[in-house]
Amino acid sequence: MTTAAGASAKTIATLQDRSIQFYRQMVRIRLFEEQVNDLYTRALMPGLAHLYSGEEAIAVGVCGALHQDDYITSTHRGHGHCLAKGASPKLMFAELLGKADGYCHGKGGSMHIADPATGNLGANAIVGGSMGIATGAAFSARRLGNGRVAVCFFGEGALGQGLLYEVMNLAQLWKLPVLYVCENNLYNEYTHFSETTAGDICARPAAFGIHAETVDGQDVHAVYAAAQRLVDRARSGGGPAFLLCNTYRYTGHHVGDINREYYRTRQEEQTWKTERDPIRLLGDRLIAEGLADRGLLEGMEVEIRAEMKAAVEFAMESPYPAAGEVEKHVYA
């Protein structure tokens, strides 16, 4: 009895630590994107910016189940995945501004952040382009016997790409430790997914005999629990799995996508933000369960906003790459 009670207290402490950690990470992603939006709308950031706001629970829940040396592949909407896997906001902002201190020396930009130190094989600007890479990383992991798992993040728009079906077939045949995480934010760019996606999403992996689960992508604990189960399963030789996370993209396809009424209503956006926000849901739960109070959460937000502003300042002050950088790294 005593042992059980002790274990239970420990579980609660772990749960509290984890919940606070998840909250912190989600707020970091949200406030990172807040700065991106600010930089972009002030014309300080070149190129395109695809914000992850609204989808934070997926990156945080899934990466929470991974080891540092496990692999991820990310997408054009990838800032959240990078941060959740452990990337530094300073080096990310520098990359977003095309500066020398960026993760890729400014040569990749927002859509190509890569970081071997955190197992980030790179964000990919070809929709569905990284599915082979993630599956290949799992192929290596199995061949080398290093116990690593690969996670392939992609949006529901990538369900239209044939590569997914080729590599799911391979992954199941070879029982590769790969988790396909489909973030269904409802919109393929400017088109509702129901107009582009025939049949049932999970029937696709099921056709290959791949274990598939669906989870509320706004509930970080639900995402984490599912990811943990599927990652453990993959790590222990159980083969690939598919995790469908239902979520919502708060902003446009990219920051410049302002007038969205032709494809969705402001009311719909508002409903998701007020009723289904992953940060608010977790914050309310932490308070209700007595694991945190409002002051703690607000203090965390102030502290993280300051961190993000400092990261932006670092990036603004970072020099542009020297001209000699342009021809470097074409070949290894």
């Binding site: 692999y71 592949t73 960026g102 993760y103 890729c104 020396h105 400014g106 040569k107 990749g108 190509h112 890569a114 970081d115 071997p116 094989l121 790179g122 990919n124 070809i126 382009g129 990284s130 599915m131 082979g132 890479i133 993630a134 599956t135 290949g136 990383a137 799992a138 192929f139 290596s140 992991a141 061949r143 080398l144 290093n146 690969a150 044939g162 590569l163 080729e166 590599v167 077939n169 391979l170 045949l173 470097k328 790294h329 074409v330 070949y331 290894a332």
Partner: protein, 332 residues
């Protein structure tokens, strides 16, 4: 006078020997492709490898060129050195995103952080009566893309030495084999270990009156033409660049300077093709030493027809090269 350790091997045997040696030397090397294991490919180039290295390293894949090429990209990034087999060069179209948008760019986009040490072996060449979708020579497409290297050997010796180097290279290398040479072309190959660096051309025959720059299947055509030319009192030099990128510009230019005339012969399409690039290199580098414009000979600009008499019209022959060269060497 051949060395004591010199044997005569077919082109296919030289390829197989290179793979076997590199697989013995480096456990990270593995082969992925359709019917590469027990079948040894339809061309029987890989026969015997699965018996020595097992199905973990000689891996039969489904008919999913994009899928297994993508897996190879990811595997190369994470610790393996895959050699992908794309049976017919025409099927390269199915791998284009993986090779052009992924493999070629990952090192650069990541600011040098990730590397893709893989080889993609494939075939080129017409006159096998295989019609328009099994006969193309598409090597120019890959030589056009920064980040890729392209090897295009013409002899068993070059095939073995270049393939070993390609497998050890830290970059994606596309390796083109003329399918007509696999079993028909024999040549001396030393039994002792050797490699050939990428980017070093080879003078296959020395001459003084005209330079015939030829690649892959066209090297034997050029050598045959050189014999005919000798009968007509014309001394032809045959230069094989051996790799399209990196390209040994100097050897091509020096030869053209010496002979003052040059024909470039390649089995790909001429329009915007390899012959255009090589002719440009020679024209710029040897302009003041040339007697006239560099002449280009390649495949006719048509889909390859099935009917043998038609197909035979589509590629340069010893006779057509001989006649072209003789005209260029005629005294005014």
């Amino acid at each position: 006078m051949p060395d004591a350790g010199m044997r005569e091997l077919t082109f296919a045997q030289a390829i197989r020997e290179a793979l076997a040696e590199e697989m013995r030397r480096d456990p990270r090397v593995c082969i992925l492709g359709e019917d590469v294991a027990e079948a040894g490919t339809p061309f029987k180039v890989l026969s015997g490898l699965v018996e020595e290295f097992g199905t973990d390293r000689v891996v039969d894949t489904p008919i999913s060129e994009a899928g297994f090429t993508g897996v190879a990209v990811g595997a190369a990034m994470t610790g393996l050195r895959p050699v992908v087999d794309i049976m017919f060069g025409d099927f390269l179209t199915l791998t284009m995103d993986q090779m052009v948008n992924q493999a070629a760019k990952i090192h650069y986009m990541s600011g040098g952080k990730w590397k893709v040490p893989m080889v993609l072996r494939t075939t080129l060449g017409a006159t096998r009566r295989s019609a328009a979708q099994h006969s193309q020579s598409l090597h120019a497409w890959f030589a056009h893309v920064p980040g890729l290297k392209v090897a295009i050997p013409a002899t068993p010796y070059d095939a073995k030495g270049l393939l070993k180097t390609a497998i050890r290279d830290e970059n994606p290398v596309i390796f083109f084999e003329d399918k007509m040479m696999h079993h028909k072309l024999k040549g001396n190959v030393p039994a002792a270990e050797f490699t050939i660096p990428l980017g070093v051309a080879d003078v296959k025959r020395e001459g003084t009156d005209i330079t015939l720059v030829a690649t892959s299947s066209m090297v034997q055509v050029a050598l045959g033409a050189a014999v005919l030319l000798e009968g007509a009192g014309i001394s032809a030099e045959v230069v094989d660049p051996r790799t399209l990128w990196p390209l040994d510009e100097k050897t091509l230019i020096d030869s053209a300077k010496k002979t003052s005339r040059a024909i470039v012969i390649d089995e790909g399409y001429g329009r915007y093709g390899v012959t255009a690039e090589l002719a440009s290199v020679i024209s710029q580098g040897a302009f003041f030493d040339l007697d006239g414009p560099v002449v280009r000979m390649g495949a006719m600009h048509i889909p390859i027809p099935f009917s043998p008499p038609l197909e035979d019209l589509t590629v340069p022959t010893e006779k057509s090269v001989f006649e072209t060269a003789r005209k260029m060497c005629a005294k005014a």
